[in-house]
Amino acid sequence: MSAPQRQVHVAAHFPGVNNATVWADPASGSHIDAESFLHMARTAERGLMDFFFLAEGLRLREHRGRIHDLDVVGRPDTLTILAAIAAVTEHLGVAGTLSATYHEPYELARQLATLDHLSDGRAAWNCVTTSDAFTGENFRRGGYLPYPRRYDRAIDFIATARELWESWPEDPAGAGPDAGAYEHVSEFFEIRGRFSVPRSPQVHPVVFQAGDSDAGRDFAAGSADVIFTRHAELGLGQEFYRDVKRRLTAYGRGEDELKIYPGVSFVLGETDDDARERARHVARQQNSGPTVLAFLERVWNTDLSGYDPDGPMPEIDPVVGGPSFSQGRVDHFKGAKERADRWRATAEAEGLSIRELVIRVSADHSFVGSPATVAEQMSAYVQERAADGFILVPHLTPGGIDEFVDRVVPELQERGVYRTAYEGSTLRENLGLPAHRPAAQWAAARAGAEEVRA
């Protein structure tokens, strides 16, 4: 008898404010009307997905010192939308990014606990850090946190939130006048008093961590329930999966206690050929002439607006040093000169224009194929332990996951690798996570792991 198949989990990410989101298509709807968010959430729940995911914006992006106007601009407040979605869904988790740098523990912990109550136990928090002074200009304290300290504050922030979340007794009806009393004094926070929200259904909302670096992996192993990671080819995905799960041992955690969810894009078609053709069309929509020049400018760090996007690559070299051309986004362009040389060599060897080259290096969709092919590929990632689930990042609002729910979900179910009903009542249960682990246990495990490292 063979081992039972691992179950594929899927979640839905609302399209973001980068060029992966296509706004020029006739099917592209509003990025701000409540109905767009509610539609996608209802569709995700119809598709029995784990959760709806919404990112956070704290400053509009800039390019060459001006507001970047080529991508979708503007987005709603995370918690406000998630609370509205909780009202119109029954099983779907509501997950959102909230920065540990520009929120404060007491306020954010009570907002998340409120969301967990209102959703009957479906709240999740993707804890990220924001280290740049650019974002700080929208906040009273400005850019105050040195880059190397960003995770230290985030870890302390999560630990504080966990203490607040469990500060009330299990039965609030019989609570005395000191219910919710707490004190947290650390390098980053000195707070004391009474927490205002009694224990919520999950006690601790589910905590996500996003970030693939070595420090980010340890942060996740020591503080989070889910990692939101980047998609990679199968072998690299397996390596990442093994590495992260291995780190759990040091924190006294089993491998099912931290779930790995890559963010993935997809393009479907009637046949695999049809899907590939559609994927080429989507890639061109995602990469208009002005968009590909702006993309190269982020590497070259200089004005390239005079170049023809359908012509050859720039011969000039990137400008190294100096203020960054692009603000407000996470960039991964290190070693600009080497990168430019590599791209120029590829373009020359294959006769690619600027636009074709940019599409080649940046617009690779994770899963492209017929519904059956995509279901097979996604299942393979889970069976072969490169992922526990996926966060779908569609390219259209609000209908971007409709076709996936209608066509891929039934294929997954037919293969016996996808739920046919929600198993649990809380998000924690539907993710296959154990009940919350008390704050003191988290703290002791982190202290133990540090001792081993030292």
Partner: protein
């Protein structure tokens, strides 16, 4: 006495001591508040308010709980259709930028029915919970509340109507000439200067500007509230001093809507309602409790009818329209 001027009704979705009989689950899941919000909407009330502070409340057991008011109102938004939603948001410790984007988003999810009750955190306990700075003197905290109202209005205005253009020919999603840095510079309630750059991340809310409400609690100095009142659309004043308070706040802010706020559990009868109307108030704000709310609304209807007041009308439209407020202008729009 008869009047054709609409008489406004606001209902607080806050527990009163009698609500300790409610199950904790009903209180914490929002179902008790939803029940009263729907009863108020069905009765034709104009708006609901939700109290908040950055501390546990004083009540026994679960009545010491305080859910975050803004999230509660966002959750109520898709579950209601016509009634205005006005959460309390604190101005002393909360970041003005976050306040601006969350209230703008509430107006999007409520499709033009949002307001915000701006309230300073005056208690030392709140300062200790946030841990960023000491408690402020009330006059300074109210001055700062006025500044926060200014920042927030700028953030709401920082996206002009029509900023989103989706111009396929040039590849531009927005016309950045219609997005504005707010460049606010002020001084917080502890004397520390601060700036907010902008623009908001949230496109202009449906009402342009959600309704800004300020509340005078009994026993507080009205004069201290002035910087906040001057930037408010509506003010809640204690029923006991309603006439004098209304005259003062209208001197500071002509056209402001003034509601007489009754003590928790207190329901004005026909005579009390008539007196509120004679004192030139625009309406009444009641805190009936979550369990007794629907019954209280029936009594209120009887009282209004007996006093000949045209209230609980269940009008449609945005919250600004229901309150008879003019459309919101935009300080950044060139005419």
């Amino acid at each position: 006495m008869s009047s054709t001027r609409p008489f406004l009704t606001a209902v607080a979705l806050d527990p009163v001591p009698a609500d300790r009989a409610l199950s904790p689950t009903d209180l914490l899941s929002g179902r008790a508040q939803l029940g009263l919000a729907r009863a108020a909407e069905d009765a034709g009330a104009d708006l609901v308010t939700v109290a908040d502070a950055l501390d546990a409340a004083d009540g026994p057991g679960v009545l010491a709980a305080r859910l975050s008011a803004l999230e509660l109102c966002a959750w109520l938004a898709p579950l209601t259709r016509r009634i205005g939603l006005v959460p309390t948001v604190t101005t002393t410790h909360t970041e003005p930028f976050l306040l601006g984007v969350s209230t703008a988003t509430l107006d999007h999810v409520a499709v033009g029915r949002a307001g915000v009750l701006l309230a300073p955190s005056l208690a030392r306990a709140e300062a200790a919970n946030v841990g960023r700075r000491p408690a402020a003197d009330p006059p300074e905290a109210w001055r700062e509340t006025g500044e926060v109202a200014d920042v927030v209005a700028r953030l709401w205005d920082s996206w002009e109507d029509g900023a989103e253009i989706r111009d396929v020919a040039t590849g531009r999603f927005v016309d950045r000439e219609k997005l504005h840095y707010v460049d606010f510079a002020g001084t917080d309630s502890t004397g520390v200067p601060f700036t907010v750059k902008g623009p908001s991340i949230v496109p202009r809310p449906p009402q342009g500007r959600p309704v800004v409400v300020v509340r005078r609690d009994p026993g507080t100095d009205l004069e201290a509230l002035r910087p906040a009142v001057e930037r408010a659309d509506a003010v809640l004043v204690p029923a006991g001093s309603a006439g004098a308070d209304a005259a003062a706040v209208r001197r500071w802010c002509p056209g402001v809507v003034v509601l007489a706020s009754c003590a928790p559990g207190e329901v004005p009868d026909a005579a009390a309602l008539a007196e509120i109307a004679r004192a030139e108030l625009d309406g009444v704000h009641v805190t009936p409790g979550l369990a007794a709310g629907a019954e209280v609304l029936r009594r209120l209807r009887t009282g209004l009818d007996a006093a000949g007041l045209d209230g609980l009308r269940g009008a449609a439209g945005t919250l600004r329209e229901r309150l008879g407020l003019p459309g919101a202008g935009n300080q950044y729009e060139r005419s």
